[in-house]
Amino acid sequence: MKKDISVMVLDDEPIVGERLQPVLEKEGFQVEVFTDSQKALKRLEEKNFQILVTDLKMSGPTGMDVLKYLKDHERDTEAIMITGYATIERAREAEILNARFVTKPFKLDQIVKLVNKAAKKFK
């Protein structure tokens, strides 16, 4: 059941969470939105999210730092990294850390598909 799958959306641009939350909730996921990566890391200490949708470049810890945290703590979280600053190096880095990579702006459908695909792992 999708409602058992929790998704963290992390982006310091509030619009990302504002738009993704209703769309993902409509798909049946439990969604928590963060605009502050420090707070998001704190929440990750308390809760294991199955899916993370995160921005790359943020003030404070970056999306890459969050991915590293998940790797260091051996979480099985499926990560999707979204960013407007796409470079091949970044994409490769994200791949190494087992994340999918999407550049802004993107179609909402695209993220929904990726999240649904990621969710299959937990069914």
Partner: protein, 852 residues
């Protein structure tokens, strides 16, 4: 500015010294930039469709790309015209500064006028005048419904008011909503006091003083001063949260203004914003001022029962006098449920005992007075007035694409006036079973399915109205489905009147598609056959969600879309992009034939692009000066079976590699458009070469027979020129007294494809030459070209069609040049125009049948 003037001067040479290659390469570059600019604008438009997620970084990046490209267009235009349009750089700078101003401002309230008369407002002005007043303007100016007169003190005036009184440090933290409850309440109280004590900036006062006398009769009576905040009456209603001051004398409108502005920051509003999770940082209040009316009856209408949205009825309540009693639910009123279908019969009614009514009191404010006993139990609406109220409300619902909550009044003259319209609020738990409604739609006959591309999402229904000329567009009835051969910026004017738009040809990236999205008019383009299938007068439903067009009015689908909420339209990024795009894409220079098509009327980037494109094409269309030929090092002649005397100048990939001869054959040309055109022109029977005094019979025989074309005299023919690259051709054919010019590009990317065909001249007198122009116009229009003609000059244009279609058009142009070359001689009367046009079109059809 100085820098690029210097750069330009380095290039400065007299016009005749410009090398041909350079001229054409620059022209090609300009066209590329032109396409890039249009693509970028289309990209921004697409992002407003709601399907995408974008942030401010995207907006900044795309704006910076666009600035670069538009700059290059201006630069290139000046290169090819010997710097004739240097002032266009100033236009560019001004437009750029205005865009940057929007981007940099923390306070994104747009710069505009301080006051606007209601008669000038439309929905897209909501950032300037707030939602409530913009909606009223829309009802009046686009739907033709009666609304109060008056004016709005704009959000820009509000910004000035806050700045003039240095209230930002109180206003911003409240807007951000991060303060604790106690602090917030204290700050809100302080701010309210400051606002009430504040001064209206002199320039705003002046604007108000200037506009007030426009309502001479009302200048002595009372005015209603109402809130029209940004975001109010949208999907979040703020119903009853803001102040309204009724029946104030004109001299006290300023006091009323401050009361309404102060209510923007009341603790209730701040709490409401927090509860509704409204994250928009800035708050802005426009204020509507309307002369009070003293209505006979007032009331409210809901276009659906908020507890059962699928019902086929509207709910209406009414009472005597002003509407306050109904709005605030004080005392008994008349209540009705009325069918939503014509003739709107009453399904249920309750006539209340109406003992009190609100009326204007002598000097100021309202008073509650007694209703005369004989009127207390009398219904306050007769059936005909009720029908009128309901009919208008349903129109508003269909236009706004959401269930509506509408305030209305009947004035002393018995006219229905709509005072306010906003989306009906209903329980979030109440959900329509959309899939069931969509399933029901499948019972309707399908006229077109997946035939084109969706350019603007949504569902619209109405009667088909086909428009083929500007004249016909003037008769376009409101609410009809607009069916066109092709999208055209000239049809943009009627887009807001249409319930849906369908075209045979057109691109999602076109200007008209952008307008359709802006007005949320469901649009499907590129169906190839809409004009054949959607016949005038047919009732159809255009589902531009699923790309289906149904026969008949599919009520289920129309109902399903009324509950779709679109909160993304309220986000800061969306509004910023929409506002920027409006600043960028508004077109002031549309018609190249109009006097206004000049530098002075260029204001936006889109104007610059349009103007530069036209001027560049005109420059190329002037043709080649003989002196310019001396700059071409090696001229290559093309061997043809007809005496064209054609010189080919290759500007990149137009001639097959490894060819060094000065005389080449058609097979050695790799410029496909030229090849196709010349193959068609040199095909047997096309190049009309008989003596021109033939009788008709003889002429037709010559046209259809396979005559040898060798041995003809070439001495009358001048040097003709084709500038080619692999995909591009600029062909100037000077055939005796007939001047043809074709400038065209053909590639796999339809957005880069176009043909510009110009023809003028002839050996006969002006009348006959004009007849030939008419004949050409008829044939070109029949083949989807947009045609302009002036006397014996004719210009046909077509663009954005796919490669296969383009090939057909090049064949057509080739045959047309051959067919009409000396035809003016034979056009002895107007009737001959139709005869020869039909003849040509018939042979075209036969050719297309035989080739398929």
């Amino acid at each position: 500015m100085l820098n690029f003037l210097k750069i330009l001067h380095r290039h400065k040479k007299p016009d005749e010294e410009l090398a041909l290659q350079f001229l054409f390469q620059t022209f090609r570059e300009l066209l590329d930039y032109n396409n890039q600019a249009l693509e970028l604008m289309a990209d921004m438009g697409e992002k407003l469709s709601g399907d995408y997620l974008f942030d401010k970084h995207y907006i900044e990046t795309i704006i910076s790309e666009l600035e670069e490209v538009v700059y290059r267009i201006v630069y290139d235009l000046n290169l090819i015209t010997s710097h004739k349009y240097i002032p266009l750089f100033d236009v560019f700078e001004r437009a750029k500064n205005e865009i940057q101003g929007e981007l940099d401002s923390r306070f994104t309230i747009p710069k505009g006028d301080y006051v606007y008369p209601l008669s000038e407002l439309t929905k897209e002005m909501s950032d300037y005048v707030g939602e409530k007043m913009a909606t009223l303007g829309e009802l009046q100016n686009r739907l033709g419904l009666k609304v109060p007169e008056g004016f709005v003190i704009s959000t820009y005036a509000f910004k000035k008011f806050i700045e003039y009184n240095r209230l930002e440090e109180w206003a911003f933290p409240l807007g951000e909503g991060k303060l604790g409850q106690d602090v917030m309440e204290r700050k809100a109280g302080e701010l309210k006091e400051r606002i009430l004590q504040a001064k209206i900036p002199p320039e705003v006062e002046k604007a108000m003083r200037k506009i007030l006398p426009s309502w001479k009769n009302a200048s002595q009576s009372g005015w209603a001063v109402r809130s029209s905040a940004v975001g109010e009456d949208s999907q979040v209603s703020y119903a009853g949260q803001y102040a309204t001051v009724l029946n104030v004398p004109p001299s006290q409108i300023g006091i009323g203004y401050k009361q309404v502005v102060a209510s923007l920051f009341s603790p209730q509003v701040i709490t409401y914003r927090r509860e509704k999770n409204i994250k928009q940082k800035e708050m802005a209040m426009a204020v509507g001022c309307t002369p009070m009316i003293s209505p006979i009856v007032s009331g409210i209408i809901y276009t659906a029962d908020p507890t059962c949205l699928e019902g086929e009825e509207v709910i209406l309540s009414a009472s005597w006098g002003l509407g306050k009693l109904v709005v605030e639910g004080e005392g008994e009123v008349d209540q009705y449920k009325v069918s939503k279908t014509f003739p709107y019969s009453i399904l249920w009614q309750h006539i209340g005992r109406k003992t009190k009514q609100y009326a204007l009191s002598g000097e100021k404010g309202l008073s509650l007075i007694s209703v005369p006993p004989d009127k207390q139990e009398q219904p306050c609406l007769n059936e005909s007035l009720m029908r009128e109220v309901v009919e208008g409300a349903i129109r508003i619902e269909q236009y706004m694409k959401s269930f509506q909550d509408i305030e209305w009044s009947i004035d002393q003259d018995g006219q229905v006036i709509y005072l306010q319209a906003r989306p009906l609020q209903f329980s979030g738990k109440l959900k329509l079973d959309k899939s069931r409604l969509v399933t029901k739609a499948q019972n309707y006959p399908i006229l077109l399915k997946d035939a084109g591309v969706i350019a603007s999402r949504g569902i619209g229904a109405g009667t088909v109205f086909q428009v083929q000329s500007e004249e016909e567009s003037r008769h376009f009835p409101r609410g009809a489905v607009l069916v066109l051969k092709r999208t055209s910026p000239r049809m943009s004017r009627i887009v807001p009147l249409a319930s849906a738009v369908v075209t045979d040809i057109g691109a999602v990236t076109g200007h008209m598609a952008t307008i359709c999205r802006e007005f949320r008019v469901p649009t499907i383009v590129d169906t190839y056959k809409a004009t054949q299938i959607l016949k005038p007068g047919m009732e159809v439903t255009v589902d531009a969600e699923e790309n289906v067009i149904y026969q008949g009015l599919v009520k289920e689908l129309l109902t399903a879309q009324l509950i779709e909420k679109i909160p993304y339209e309220e986000t800061y990024e969306f509004k910023l992009l929409r506002r920027l795009l409006k600043k960028i894409s508004t077109l002031h220079v549309t018609d190249p034939q109009a006097n206004e098509f000049d530098l002075a009327h260029c204001k936006t980037f889109h104007d610059i692009i349009r103007f530069a494109h036209e001027m560049a094409v005109r420059k190329i269309a002037q043709g080649i000066q003989p002196s310019q030929l001396s700059f071409v090092q090696s001229l290559t002649k093309l061997k043809l079976s007809i005496p064209l005397n054609l010189t080919v100048v290759d500007i990149g990939g137009g001639i097959k590699e490894g060819i060094s001869s000065n005389e080449i054959s058609l097979e050695e040309i790799s410029c496909l458009p030229l090849q196709i055109l010349l193959e068609a022109l040199t095909a047997p029977g096309v190049w009309q070469s008989q003596p021109i005094d033939l009788d008709l019979k003889g002429f037709m025989a010559s046209f259809t027979s396979k005559l040898p074309t060798q041995g003809l005299s070439t001495d009358r023919l001048n040097v003709n020129l084709a500038i080619v690259s692999r995909e591009y051709v600029n062909l100037s054919l000077n055939l005796g007294y007939h001047f043809n010019m074709v400038d065209a590009n053909m590639s796999d990317d339809r957005d880069n494809n176009y043909i510009y065909f110009r023809f003028f001249g002839g050996v006969t007198e002006f009348t006959r030459r004009t007849r030939r122009a008419k004949l050409l116009a008829q044939i070109l229009e029949e083949n989807d070209f947009a045609v302009e003609s002036k006397g014996d000059l004719i210009i046909g244009r077509i663009k954005k069609i796919d490669r296969q279609n383009m090939e057909g058009k090049f064949c057509l142009i080739g045959r047309l040049i051959g067919y009409t070359r000396q035809l003016d001689v034979l056009l002895r009367s107007e009737k001959d125009i139709d005869f020869f046009a039909d003849q040509f079109l018939k042979s075209e059809r036969e050719l297309s049948v035989s080739s398929s």
